[in-house]
Structure formats: structure tokens, C-alpha cells
């Protein structure tokens, strides 16, 4: 059923019409929260809070925009507020990720895949918050420029500019990391060669 039909039902007091909306957008909300907060438990809590907020403010929803961008906007703002309140950097659950990857591939490939994934994650996390959000909305959530403008409340020029700069920073970070790991390999190879 269309979002707008469901929203009208919700506004008429039929709360069960909200359930399909949660089912449809919980992954989007959770994913944005996880990428912005880097903590699974917190992302799950935020997902709940965001939907409750949306429910409470449903009468303010403007049907000119899609429900998807509306709820994404609530999520981004909520997460930025949380990050501002408790200035902190959270590390990823590497163990968990290793398990997920090794289920898919053989052990050696898994280690490589995991290292690569960690590297990408580390590089993205090192970006300033707004650039990280841009990269995630565009390249992970596959949202359009127009949608990102609505979600972040920024004009197109700023959105494009930020995304381009985010990509530049990301490329430089990744090259820095691969450069380091190459150096390490070289050093260990020399060490083996000289028998030390």
C-alpha cells in the first residue's frame, strides 16, 4: 500500500497502519544511525526513537516530500544531536565482522576481505561527520542528490561540494592506508630475506 494512504490511516487514529511503514523503512533508519553513531545498540535505540518521533509528529508531515526522506531527515538530525551531546569515537565490533565474513569465504580470503572492509570503515569513520553522512547517504543508501538535499536541508551546490570533498578525503585516506600496509609488507619481506 502507498505510504500516503497508510499515513492518512494513522492520522485517523489507526495505529496498526504504522507497522508497514516501520517494516519498510527500519533498515534505512537503522543503517543511517549505525553509520553515524558506529554503535549497534545505540543504532537500534535510535531507530525506535526515530519512529516514535515520526509517529508523534505525523500531523506535521508534508506530503509534498516522500516519507522516506522525511524519516531519513529525522534520523540524521537525531544522530547529529546525539553525537554533539556525547563527543566520542566508537570503535567497530571487529570480532563480529570477522565472523560474518568468514561464513561467506575461505579463511585466507576472509582475512583479506575483513582487512579491506576494516580499512574502508576506518577511512570513512575518520571523515568529519557531515562528509561521512554524505558518503553514506549517496553510496550506501543509494539516495539521489535531490533526496540528500531534502534530508540534510542543504542546497544542491553544498551537497555536491561536500560529497566531492568527502570522496577526495576518502581516496587520500585509503591510499595512505594501502601505502602503509605495502611498506609493512616490504619491511617484513626484507627482514625474512636477511634472516633477522
Amino acid at each position: 500500500m502507498e505510504d500516503l494512504v497508510l499515513i492518512r490511516k494513522c492520522l485517523a487514529g489507526r495505529s496498526e497502519a504504522f507497522e508497514p511503514l516501520i517494516a519498510k523503512y527500519k533498515n534505512l533508519v537503522y543503517s543511517i544511525a549505525l553509520n553515524t553513531l558506529s554503535d549497534k545498540n545505540e543504532a537500534a535505540d535510535v531507530t525506535q526513537e526515530v519512529f516514535l518521533k515520526a509517529w508523534a509528529n505525523l500531523s506535521k508531515y508534508n506530503p509534498e516530500f516522500s516519507f522516506k526522506t522525511w524519516i531519513a531527515r529525522i534520523t540524521v538530525n537525531h544522530c547529529i544531536n546525539i553525537n554533539q551531546k556525547n563527543k566520542r569515537v566508537v570503535a567497530w565490533d571487529d570480532e563480529e565482522m570477522g565472523r560474518v565474513v568468514s561464513e561467506e569465504k575461505g579463511p585466507e580470503e576472509a582475512v583479506l576481505a575483513c582487512e579491506k572492509r576494516l580499512m574502508v570503515r576506518k577511512a570513512i569513520e575518520s571523515l568529519p561527520e557531515m562528509y561521512r553522512i554524505m558518503i553514506n547517504l549517496y553510496h550506501q543508501e543509494n539516495l539521489s542528490y535531490e533526496e540528500i538535499c531534502t534530508i540534510t536541508g542543504n542546497p544542491m551546490t553544498i551537497v555536491k561540494n561536500r560529497l566531492y570533498r568527502a570522496r577526495k578525503m576518502l581516496a587520500e585516506k585509503l591510499r595512505e592506508y594501502t601505502g602503509k600496509s605495502l611498506e609493512k609488507e616490504e619491511i617484513s619481506w626484507i627482514a625474512v630475506k636477511h634472516g633477522t
Binding site: I22, Q48, L52
Partner: protein, 173 residues
Amino acid sequence: MDCSQAWNLIMEYFDKELPSDQEQKLMEHLKHCPACKGEFDALSSAFVEMEHMKEPAPPYLELKIMKRIKKAPRKGEIILPLVIAPLIILLALAALGLHVISQGGLSDFLAQTIRFLTISYRTFSAAIALLEQMFNSFYMRLSLTVLVILSAIFAGIYIVRNIRKAKTSFNGG
């Protein structure tokens, strides 16, 4: 092509907006420029990696959210217009009454109330009379008839559409 031009093309490439002739030019530059090639490859694999990193929300969330919503139904809308507005009017009237009583005593208050009621009754009946006169005129009758017919047609369409919708959603599950 210099590297800054190449970078612009790389951006368009990741926007999926790079025309194929430009793409060929870019690939030609990448063949000869390890710096640009390094950045291009790093970004390509990072974006592929990001697709795999996507994680679904925990499955229990829907139930949890629905439970909390049912516990705390949205009250704001019902309370605000239906209760607060009449409350404000009532309070204003009470304040006005108290003010008049304190100024001129109870008899004065009653006299003023009666006067107010008669005035509003007269205004009201005058308005009704005017409306009656208007509706009795030929044009008013004609346009009223057209309006009634039109709204009957719209109501009919609306009912039929809703019945169809209900049927399809019923059949579609």
C-alpha cells in the same frame, strides 16, 4: 588532460553521469597516471565494499516500536483543537463576567447579559432572513441545484472508487 580535469571526470563517473566518450578519455589518463589510478581504484573498491557493509535492522524492532506506540497514542491533535479552543473562550467569558460584576454589581451584569443576548438574537435572525431572501432568488436556486447535482456525482464517484479500492486491497491481501 591534467589530473584536476581527470578528478572532475572521476566525480562524474561516480555520479553515473559521465558520457561514454569522456569515460574513454578518463581511462586513457588513468593508464598513464598512477596517482589518479590509485585514487580511482581505491574509491571504486570502497564503494563496492560499502554495499556489502549494509546491515539490516534487528528483527524485533517493529514489535517493540508498535508496543510503545499503542501504549502512548498520539493525543496532541485531539486535545489541542477540540478542548483547548473552547476552554480559552470559556475562560475569556468568565473573566469578562467577573469584570462586569466587579464594576457594576450583579444586577448590572444580568442587564448586560440580557442585552447582549437580544442583540445576538436579532443579528442572527437578520442574517437568516437575508440568506432566505438570497436562496429564494432565481439565480440562487439555479446555482444551488447545479451544486447539489455536482456534489451528488462526486459523492457517487468517490463511493465507487473506495469500494473498488477496498476490493483490490482485500483480494491483494
